[in-house]
Symmetry: D3
Subunit: 168 residues, 6 copies
């Protein structure tokens, strides 16, 4: 059969920080598409723990060994960024029912903006079903254990942000 | 058969801004009740995009052609406002599972306050199932397309709030 | 204000048997509409515990003191029955998230058939949130207690169907 | 960039009958993968309305104009069929919360069987969110309207199965 | 502090067959209560794959090394069985949202029967979140892999029920 | 049978304020465990209505007649506090689907920290299914009725915080 035109996919997020759940999605997406751009969404309203530079660095280090993956950043609407990069696909991880409805809302609005770009959902490994960046930060803040849930250098960066908590 | 006493219904919301999903509910409710009061809930804790005056104006312009609809505002508990207007019904739109539980919480508390007032739920057109004021604002902020999702004069008001975004 | 044309509402179900949750919905609906027709849906595929005659009798006895309520039966699509009776409204009780999606599916299909007829949802009293005809039958079958969950004459009819169970 | 190896995707289902919701998913999947095999799952336990031959015919006619789509059938585990065809991807449509959990159960079991094959979820158009083969059959059985919800030749086949219902 | 009276808990189910998810719940419950009775619910309406004797044997073999666990069977209402054994607690595993509402319905009815007996929910290991007896049987029927999801002797019993499937 | 070692359970929360729903859970938990420590979680990020001292006082007064209950406070991770008190169990109330997924996320993270401590879920009385501290505060703020939903002295404390609202 004749091969399709090369397909680029965007995997957007705030990645504050990247978790092994995010990485699991990237590893599942990489073999399916010709290029996967893991993309830091710059949302000026939020108050992130890690700076843009730190997060970009995390994304690069975490994905440097995965073929076909590159790192980028954008502000504005993800579909406009996707369009500017010629991407046809937005990748999202689906973990839980509460994700589900929010994702539908976003996807329908994205379709309205750019019908030629579609969203595909991937399911992370069951170990990561209920994992989120927020809970990672909450646990790390109190000196808890996040090994196996984030890459080891992210764990070190978390430990620097939260040195020996008085709650321990 | 003998006709019932005239029935007034309240449709409360923050309407920041009103969407075509809200209007769809108003149009479904209007033929069922003798009067429908679309009511701006003044919640001092929130930080709305549109002023009270702007939102009341939106409500009036959007509903001026729908028979039996009037516009009002209230602060405090919606059941108290309903009672002061002799309304027996509170109307709510149900879009998604996540609405559902929140709505139940509110409705049960309202019943506790005023058992003689009940809540009825209407379902918007499928096109509006995942539409919300928040996502409209988010998209408009970045110069995205909200045509067909809000009345045209609301679209213009959004464009004035968010002139040509640098993200475009 | 000028009153609306009289509005008839249909409350369809299999009522095998009617529960206090169903009755709670009827009592909430009766003051809102000029007529409420509680309607037995004849579904030839199911294997009901109570005969059509028994269920119609239950509906009549349960609702004889509620003004503006009548009892009927239909086969086929509920919207066609509603249309034949000049009804503008189908009433449904919403108890739980799992109801919610099924109800949406039904309501959207009904709208497709007869756009002039709409569905309104009412919420039963919190005591009846997780009550269903199926669980009533399951409990009664094993000699359990269903007092306060069904009308007293329904309880007697259940006891005749399930005389002294060997499991007790 | 170097192109990936050609990727084949399986879209399994019972398709009794195929709906416009299924077709919407096929049309979204076709541009993303090199080949999409829409595959009739032969489940001996079910009692389908349409025969295997009728359903295969429906699949062929519905998809004959979509490039890169072929039709097949299988019994047993879908991952084994996928493997035998060299497919890396199973496609599923996600419509509602209730789908979601069932799909997760299936996907996790499939991964256990063949970790090299992954499931991707696509979201149908909002018009088809609450559409299912079961409700199509239920409505057609009672002479209701399913135009715009199934391909026209499927509508004709439904009308032959359910000639002029007495309920009309 | 003075110790409580010894507390007995019932863990009811159809266990057709027992899975590692069920066993995970038993192992979590055993240290919390003085006695845990894993109890086969005899439901004459169902058509089980394994006979009562086979299932009781499975329960015994699976739990023989867990201290404080015994195996029993009952028909009728679980609260009546619990009462006859002096149990104060019914244990249930909670895996998914869809379980949740069904469990609430059951628990509220059980409370109505015997308010002195309460239900406690335990959460299985994340690996078993989407595991069920039904999917185990479905996969085993087609020659799929269920290792690590059921005890090894259950796997052998499944293989005897489903010798070399033609679908493989 | 030989009795188990005495078992201590923690019931953590922000209790701002304690509701009758919380108390219902404490009363259900007390007979099941040798000691129940109702524990105020000190979360410096939140902006509570009641001070730590007020909330501890509420907890003490509400539970002084329930045998085996004591009151404590902690900051940091609840599992670390539980461990420091020799507790094997964390108690949580489950009211609604939206609770469910959040609770799973928390419970899985807690297990990762201290696998020897497990979470058990109890279901409050149906009257309290949709009750929360937030809605109590919202209603009291506007002069609404919260009798039967909080202990009487909590109602008085709420009335002091919100003297005669202008919205009434």
């Amino acid at each position: 059969m004749a091969q399709k035109q090369a397909i680029t996919a965007i995997y957007p997020g705030t990645f504050d920080p990247i978790t092994n759940g995010h990485l699991d999605i990237v590893k599942r997406a990489a073999p399916l598409f010709d290029k996967v751009i893991i993309t830091l969404a710059l949302n000026i309203d939020k108050d992130p723990l890690f700076s843009i530079e730190e997060r970009l660095e995390m994304l690069r280090r975490s994905t440097e060994d995965i073929e076909g993956v590159e790192v980028a950043q954008f502000s504005g609407l993800v579909v406009n960024f996707a369009s500017s990069r010629g991407a046809k696909v937005i990748i999202r991880g689906l973990r839980a029912v509460s994700d589900f409805e929010y994702e539908f809302q976003i996807a329908l609005m994205n379709r309205k903006q750019r019908p030629e770009i579609d969203t595909v959902y991937l399911m992370p490994d069951a170990r990561y079903t209920y994992l989120s960046s927020s809970i990672i930060k909450e646990v790390a803040r109190h000196g808890g254990e996040v090994r196996q849930l984030v890459p080891s250098f992210v764990m070190e960066m978390l430990m620097k942000k939260f040195p020996k908590s008085i709650s321990e």
